[in-house]
Every structure is written in C-alpha cells, then in structure tokens.
C-alpha cells in the first residue's frame, strides 16, 4: 500500500546516539478514554471490525511502551506522560477539533483520564495535561523540556495520525530531534497508521521500530549517574 516509490530525497535526521540527560520519552494519551471509551463509541456505531482491530492494536503496543519506559528509566532518560482532558471538566476549554467532534473531554479526575495500568507513571515522573491533540499547542511541554535541557524525544502512544502526528509536527518546529516508535503507536486503521508514519518519516522525524529504539537506548552514555 505504501511504497517507497521515491528515492529517499529527504532524510530528516541522522541516527545518532542518545544522550540520557538530553533525551525524554513521551507517551501520548494512553488513557482509558482513548483505549476504551472511544473504541466503545466506534463499536456502538456498528463499526465492530474497526473497534476490534483498534483494541488489538492497542493491546499489542502496551507491553512495548512499558518495555521502552523501563529501559529509559534504567538509563536515566526522563519518562513523561501526556494525557488529554479538560481543566473545566466539561470540555469547554478544549481545542475546537475535540469540541466539534463530540470527543468526551472530562475532568482530570474522571476515569477517562486514568493512564493504562501497564504504562502508568512511576512516582516522581512528569504527567502533563493537554487540551489539544498536539502537546505543543495545549500544554507547557516545550517550556518543561527546555528547563530539563532535553533536545531529543522518543515518542509513542495514541492515536498515530492525530495526537501523535500533531505533537511530532510541533516538536519538529520547536527544534527537537524526534524518534517515533512505529510499533508503539496505533491508529484506527493500519492504513491511517502507515500513511501518517510515511509523512512523518519524510518530513519530521526518524521512524524506527521498538527493537531499534531499544538498541539506541542500550547505547546511551549514562552521563546522568
């Protein structure tokens, strides 16, 4: 379906060794709302095949995200959790695309906002709330990363062509080196997932599978210890 029918005319970023104190792993919206509520909504609309495929795609990426997080922790790479929701609790403060699509945007203490247990934050890790799909529009992520001295991001989560892609587009414009973990992101259909990754690969980021990212993490100079 997606053919590399063109010469690789653009190579967004050369693969270089990660430096622990300058790297962070972002997990995007791996929360109950994205995992369960939305799938149920799709199922209720009669699109059982899409809901089932999405469910299994999400179940497949969860252990991979967990493994990436644990390896990052072991190498003192900052693990940051992003989640979508509303400060008012009604969604009135969320970005227009979410409001217009009737996306449930509940308060932070609602169950929709609970990050999946498999990839839950450890005590002391940064959890950031956002009111938009792209984290660079609807949160203080850029300021936080600059304070941490981070210039390289490892990105995983949900949903590839919306929140993940928008966050990476923002990260690229803010000057970060971005690695996307292709098999630690999921979308409603494989086609959307692959098309989004193809666009990201050509213009915005280095797209690698978890195995290659884990190798990069293993090669990190542990200069934070």
């Amino acid at each position: 379906m997606i053919t590399e029918d063109l010469p690789r005319i653009f190579e967004p970023q050369p693969i270089h060794p990660l430096v622990a104190r300058r790297s962070a792993m972002l997990t995007i919206d791996v929360q109950r709302g994205q995992v369960f509520s939305l799938a149920n909504k799709v199922r209720d609309a009669g699109l059982h095949d899409i809901a089932t495929a999405y469910d299994s795609a999400v179940q497949a990426i969860l252990p991979r995200i967990r493994m990436l997080q644990d390896r990052c922790r072991a190498r003192h790479i900052e693990v940051i959790h992003l989640r979508f929701g509303s400060f008012s609790g009604t969604g009135s403060d969320c970005s227009q695309p979410f409001r217009l699509s009737g996306h449930e945007a509940a308060a932070w203490d609602r169950s929709d906002q609970i990050i999946d247990a498999v990839v839950a934050p450890h005590p002391g890790e940064i959890v950031m709330n956002k009111v938009s799909s792209g984290a660079f529009n609807g949160s203080d992520l850029d300021a936080v990363l600059r304070r941490l001295g981070v210039d390289t991001l490892i990105v995983a989560g949900l949903v590839t062509a919306s929140c993940v892609e928008s966050t990476i587009r923002g990260a690229a414009d803010c000057g970060y080196n971005v690695f996307v973990v292709s098999d630690a992101c999921a979308d409603w259909t494989d086609q959307q997932h692959e098309l989004s990754l193809a666009i990201l690969r050509r213009w915005f980021a280095t797209v690698l599978d978890a195995e290659r990212i884990l190798r990069l993490i293993a090669g990190v100079e542990n200069d934070r210890a």
């Binding site: 997606i2 063109l6 010469p7 005319i9 653009f10 190579e11 967004p12 970023q13 970005s95 227009q96 695309p97 699509s101 938009s132 799909s133 792209g134 529009n137 609807g138 062509a161 919306s162 892609e165 928008s166 587009r169 923002g170 690229a172 414009d173 803010c174 000057g175 080196n177 959307q192 098309l195 989004s196 193809a198 666009i199 050509r202 213009w203 915005f204």
Partner: protein, 235 residues
C-alpha cells in the same frame, strides 16, 4: 483620604483622556475571514530553483514533472481565490519560508537538513508572480513548517480580527497540514482548499487532507469556495 483621591485623579490630565478615547467601533467593522497563501515561492514552486534543482539532481524527473504540473494548477486556483478575496475587500495573508540570515543559521536544524529554507531577499524566497503580495497585504516570513510556530502569527491574525482562514499553499503534507492543525487547535476556523494545495507525493497529499477533514477542519474545492458568497461570514 480625600486629599489622596484628588492627587490620584490628577495623575492623568483630563485633556489627555479626551485625546486617547478608545474607539471601540473601529474594531467591530473588521472582516473576520482571510485568505492564507502558504509558501507560493520560487523555492517550492519554480522548477529551476531549490526543490526542482534537487529533484533533477536525484534523477526524479517523473516526480518533478507531476509535482510542478500540480503546483501550477494549485497556484492558478490560489490566484482565482486571491482575485475574489481582493475584490471583496477581504484580508489576504501571505507567508513564505524566508530566514533573516544569508547562511541560514537562524533556521532550525530540521529545515536546514531538508534544505527547505531560503534567505529573505533571495530568489528562492521570492513569491511566484501570479500570487505576489500587493501593498497592504500581510506578509509573514518564517522558518518553521507551521505558520503558528512563528510566535507572532496568531496574535497578528487576532489583532486583525481574523477568525476564519481559507488556506492554500505548498506543500500539503508539510506546511499546509501543520498550519491547519495548529489553526484549528488555537481556536481559528480553518478551511483547506484541496485543489489550491500541492504535495510532493499524491498519497501524502490525499492522506493529509483526509486526516484534516476527519479531525481538524473542513476541506473544500476552489469552486465550492468561489460559489459560496465570500463575505465577512463563513463559507
């Protein structure tokens, strides 16, 4: 206490108050819909400059031929919209990739590596003649893909009273999609004109438009936008 109140009141002299009376009515009359033209510049739209040179050097003749033919179509459609917006007296905003230095040291690492940058004043930064800005139109130079990654853009549009953006440009899957996504998330109402945009790869062009329409904004044809009454109200 009375004495203190008198002193405070005298800090602002009454005759100054009459000079700087706020004229609120001046704001309410502003049209809220603007045409946005993204990167219709030689770097991306003239086959003898920038991207065209690189594609030729890579031997991607077929791709280049299709891309520049589609780019010419998109430019023609943008020109039709431009004429309509100008005759309706609606604001037009141009943005182009144009950095402040000759060597590009003020350009982000990504855009530098992709060679998607141009020095302000160079032929590569220059607008395509069919859609060149005229005096009075806003021109925002930038070095990022999204117009809104350039800090001043959102404020500038809000200052002008612009809330609705009809978006055209090069290229769909990089600057146009990033700008439309950000516009929607920052509270503007974007509408992307599908045949007034061009992408480097047709599948990426189409996918970007589909993702925009699925989650972020309306996607319409030039004809549909022209057929609607273009006034201060939405299309």
């Amino acid at each position: 206490l009375r004495e203190w109140k008198t002193i405070v009141r005298e800090l602002v002299r009454p005759e100054l108050r009459t000079i700087w009376t706020r004229k609120e009515s001046a704001l309410s009359a502003l049209p809220n819909q603007a045409l946005l033209l993204i990167d219709f510049q030689q770097l991306l739209g003239d086959s003898s400059v920038g991207l065209g040179e690189r594609l030729r050097a890579l031997g991607a003749q077929e791709l280049a031929q299709r891309y520049y033919s589609d780019a010419a179509d998109a430019t023609r459609n943008a020109e039709r919209l431009l004429r309509r917006f100008r005759s309706a007296g609606l604001p037009v905003v141009h943005t182009h990739l144009a950095c402040a230095t000759v060597d590009g040291r003020d350009v982000g690492a990504l855009q530098r590596r992709l060679e998607v940058w141009a020095a302000n004043g160079s032929p590569a930064a220059d607008f395509l003649s069919a859609v060149r800005p005229v005096s009075g139109e806003i021109v925002i130079p930038r070095t990022t893909f999204s117009l809104f990654a350039t800090g001043v853009a959102a404020q500038l549009l809000r200052n002008c009273g612009i809330t609705k953006l009809v978006i055209t440009g090069i290229g769909t899957e990089w600057s146009v999609a990033s700008t439309a996504r950000d516009a929607a998330e920052l509270g503007f109402e974007p509408l992307v004109v599908e045949d007034a945009c061009v992408g480097l790869e047709p599948t990426h062009h189409r996918a970007s438009l589909d993702f925009l329409e699925l989650w972020y904004c309306r996607v319409r044809s030039t004809q549909a936008v022209l057929s609607a009454a273009i006034t201060a109200s939405p299309v």
